[in-house]
């Protein structure tokens, strides 16, 4: 297990190096001269621009600047917001809990729907329940999350007024209202993931239920529930883990849109505001943190995979 973890950590190093380079390189594709921008725009004198270029280190070669960028990352210095002057790291740390709660909520919603739906569909393939699950999940995959969010706001916030339409209440302030403010966004974000996971769980559960050891267990008189819960689930869940890992990427991206709809002060709304403000360091910081979350999630998935399937530990 430890060897697997070590190997995966080692494999992530080149990926992270390229990730940081991609994010660093984004600055190169931006139109306009960042030095002029920092010096105060069109009105700045040539001397001011040259001074800003030197101060920002923009007169150094690409690789030197990349090296400084990496150095900054290791010391936790992601630069400052051009707009507010706030260090990027603290801006991200401030907003991250909102986005992470939203993602966790969405994953919980997704699993709460997908586990029963996938299992019910797989135990009676071709039956009515199976058809309904497959039909709804096909629709769920095709529905953009903001459309679901829009419908939820319309029905549960504007018409039934059960949940707040927008806004966020920090957990420390009121756990109950924190929960309330996250219900609709989590559902909006989690439905598509639920559909995807349910489809995968059904397919992999069908494969497993067809195996000899399951037939043996059934023949020995163990009920469907026992077989699914005790024997099939562990094996059927391994492929689902891969999907779960992929979903982390999708969900993290989805928070951007969902936070806009529900007006949540998370990383997504920070990013969108930064894009409109051309606040490059913030965008870079968010992109790197997001990739880091995905890389860590992938490592966790692989380790969990190794736990579920001992054959992979040695490989």
């Amino acid at each position: 297990m430890l060897r697997l973890l070590a190997r995966r950590l080692l494999m992530s190093v080149p990926i992270l190096v390229i990730v940081t380079f991609v994010v660093f390189f984004l600055l190169e594709i931006a139109p306009g001269d960042p030095a002029r921008l920092a010096a105060g725009g069109q009105a700045a004198s040539a001397a001011d621009v040259a001074e800003a270029r030197h101060r920002l280190g923009l007169d150094e070669p690409l690789w030197t600047r990349y090296w400084h960028f990496i150095e900054g990352l290791f010391t936790g210095d992601l630069g400052q917001s051009i707009f507010s002057g706030q260090p990027v790291l603290s801006a991200i740390a401030e907003r991250a809990p909102v986005s992470l709660s939203l993602m966790a909520g969405a994953l919980i919603v997704a699993m709460l729907i997908a586990l029963p739906a996938g299992i019910i569909a797989a135990t009676r393939p071709g039956g009515i329940a199976d058809r309904v699950v497959m039909l709804i999940s096909a629709g769920g995959v095709a529905m953009p999350n903001f459309l679901i969010g829009l419908l939820l706001v319309l029905v549960f916030a504007l018409n039934l007024q059960i949940f707040p339409a927008t806004g966020y209440v920090p957990f420390e302030q009121s756990p109950a209202r924190w929960f309330q403010s996250l219900v609709l966004p989590s559902v909006a974000l989690g439905v598509a993931a639920a559909a995807e996971i349910a489809r995968f769980l059904r397919a992999s559960m069908l494969d497993v239920l067809d195996q000899d050891y399951i037939r043996t267990a059934r023949a020995k008189g163990i009920g469907v529930r026992g077989v699914v819960g005790k024997h099939a689930m562990k094996n059927a869940f391994a492929p689902v883990l891969t999907v779960l890992g992929l979903q982390v990427r999708i969900l993290l991206g989805g928070t951007v849109v969902i936070e806009q709809i529900f007006n949540l002060p998370g990383l997504g709304s920070l990013t969108v505001k930064a894009v409109f403000d051309r606040d490059y360091p913030i965008i870079q910081g968010v992109a790197i943190s997001a990739a880091l979350v995905v890389v860590v999630a992938n490592i966790l998935v692989d380790v969990a995979y190794g736990y579920l399937n001992p054959k992979l530990r040695a490989a």
Binding site: M134, M143, F146, L147, D207, V272, A287, A290
Partner: protein
């Protein structure tokens, strides 16, 4: 609706023994595809929607950009099937133009993704070794970004707008093409007939063009179909938050963004573009699944 024949219906046996020329593979593929009723229906719906959207200037009754404020936010009626928006413009007409823009943007974005992914995937898969490892590490890195966040970052640096959004979406889906093409190219490389061609001294570029490319067409087609669906959603997401298409033009996504701002006064406004996105993406997914199920066993990996 049956979208799961991959498990219940065994795939038709690949023509074992016969030489796997490009034509033979394609004929079997078409025959199997015709049997996928859901996928054929999805294809028909897509053709219909595409025609309606592309030909919108010639058959819709209103000007998509003009309207009178006195008609603003009127509900559905005989004259305006889906009502009017906040500026009195006919929603149905705008929806047709919006679908036109969304479809066009998705096609271009997938084109960008293919232009990047196809050659790199071919090189990685056919060359193997160090070249393959290097390309794949870059691929892994790109795939470590949440797609939408990378797209927003690219748009953030290039500037908001439809063109930049299409480039960004192309970049985020390029790794998918790279992976599919690489896998297919690696499988074909090991085939006896490719080995034979290599033994006879055929240059690499001819082997790739004559033997590898025709054989990866089918998996490529599947990927195109599925990616178009993703690209539509990605463009809609970017335009929904205002980073994609800029007014007065509208795509289905930016129309939903407008609808969201008027959700309290005119909830019907969201129905048209919302349903349109769903039908298009669902059809593309069903089509993609159908295409995948029509692939013979040997073409699958």
């Amino acid at each position: 609706m049956s979208v799961e024949p991959d498990i219940t219906v065994p795939a038709a046996p690949a023509a074992a023994g016969s030489p796997p020329t490009g034509t033979a593979v394609r004929v079997g593929f078409l025959r199997r595809f015709r049997r996928q009723r859901a996928a054929v229906a999805a294809l028909a719906i897509l053709v219909l929607i595409t025609l309606a959207a592309v030909l919108a200037p010639w058959w819709t009754l209103y000007d998509p950009a003009g309207g009178s404020l006195s008609d603003a936010l009127s509900g559905p009626s005989g004259g305006h099937w889906l009502g009017t928006d906040d500026l009195g413009r006919d929603v149905f007409t705008r929806m047709m133009y919006g679908a036109r823009l969304s479809l066009g943007a998705a096609v271009i974005a997938v084109g960008v993704a293919m232009a990047i992914g196809l050659p790199l995937g071919l090189i990685a898969g056919y060359a193997g070794g160090l070249v393959d490892s290097a390309i794949m590490r870059v691929n892994d890195a790109l795939m470590s970004f949440p797609p939408l966040i990378l797209a927003i970052s690219i748009v953030g640096f290039l500037g908001a707008g439809l063109t930049n959004a299409m480039i960004a979406i192309g970049v985020i889906y390029a790794p998918r093409f790279m992976r599919v093409v690489r896998g297919a190219a690696m499988a074909v490389r090991e085939e006896t007939y490719v080995e034979a061609a290599r033994m006879m001294g055929a240059p690499a570029h001819r082997i790739v063009r004559r033997h590898v490319l025709p054989n990866i067409l089918s998996p490529l087609l599947v990927e195109i179909s599925l990616s178009l669906g993703f690209a539509i959603i990605a463009e809609a997401s970017l335009s929904f938050i205002g980073l994609g298409v800029q007014p007065p033009s509208a795509s289905l996504g930016s129309m939903l963004g407008e609808a969201f701002r008027h959700l309290r006064d005119a909830p019907v406004y969201a129905i048209g573009p919302g349903v349109a996105i769903m039908i298009i993406v669902l059809s593309l997914n069903v089509l993609g699944d159908g295409l995948r199920d029509s692939l013979g066993r040997r073409a699958m990996r």
